[in-house]
């Protein structure tokens, strides 16, 4: 294959990856959580020892609180 062919292939693959990423992300977000895990033990219990204020778990918990 020529290098132009490879370039087109590479660009195609990158575009495909972006599409796969976006689709899987949206699908993941839209899939409802299984029964009993809607709130997944995110709570002050998990956060009292660590206090990394920027951590995603901490943030999502404190958003719920507000």
């Amino acid at each position: 294959m020529t290098s132009t062919g490879y370039l087109i292939l590479a660009i195609g693959i990158i575009a495909a990856l972006i599409v796969i990423f976006v689709v899987s992300f949206v699908l993941y977000m839209r899939t409802p959580a299984p029964k009993g895990c809607e709130k997944l033990g995110i709570g002050p219990k998990n956060c009292e020892e660590c206090d990394v204020k920027g951590c995603m778990i901490y943030k999502s918990h404190h958003k719920e609180e507000e």
């Binding site: 972006i18 977000m29 990394v52 920027g54």
Partner: protein
Amino acid sequence: MNSIKRGQHKASFLNGILRENPLLVQVLGLCPALAVTKSLETAFGMGLLFTFVLVSSNVIVSLLRKLIPEEIRTPSYIVVIATFVTIVKMFAEAFLPELYSSLGVFLSLLVVNCIVLGRSEAFAGQNGVLDSFLDGLGNGIGYTWAISLMGLIREILGLGTLTLGKVFSFFGDPLKLPILKSTTLDALGNPTYDYSISIFQNPAGAFIVLGLMLAIMAAISNHKKAVEKAKEKALKLEMAAKAALEGGAK
């Protein structure tokens, strides 16, 4: 109106520098802070490149915030950030080869840096371009001074000398300052004095320095809180005493 706006701009710039310092207060971005702080200059260079990525991704995300649908926010932020990291990598490879080789893989790891992604999600996605720019700049400066301080401590304690101009080599020959270890040699070929502690150049030293710095920051903020509480208490007591006095007078 204007002054309110100006106040907001000022707040978004200043918050990141000290009060909400990304490394020392929010405790984010630990990986590069531990890995690239063997010397002052590498740390400072990392800080500069980091600031550039943060500012430009903040600006672009803020410009695009009305175009990006709510659902695919995170993926598009990741793509924007990865683009800027690629630009920075190519720039560093071309113009700062020494820095590029000493940062190594951590330049690419800026893509998954919690601070960059976090600022995009928490700030730039909701705020205007100017505010996002200032927020990125403030956070970048805050992170840069924090890791530069770490680099300074680790270089002086670990190597005993301070080398300037090795990474940013366009100012001529590097300058090597003796601090804990002399740069002159005695007759046997050993340095005339050497009080450096080489553990600070090791990974363990990085953990110790960062741990102590965070502890000092926590101690300061605890102290401030305690002082405020004491003040409040005193104020309350005073009010109570006044009320009692007035009641007595009646």
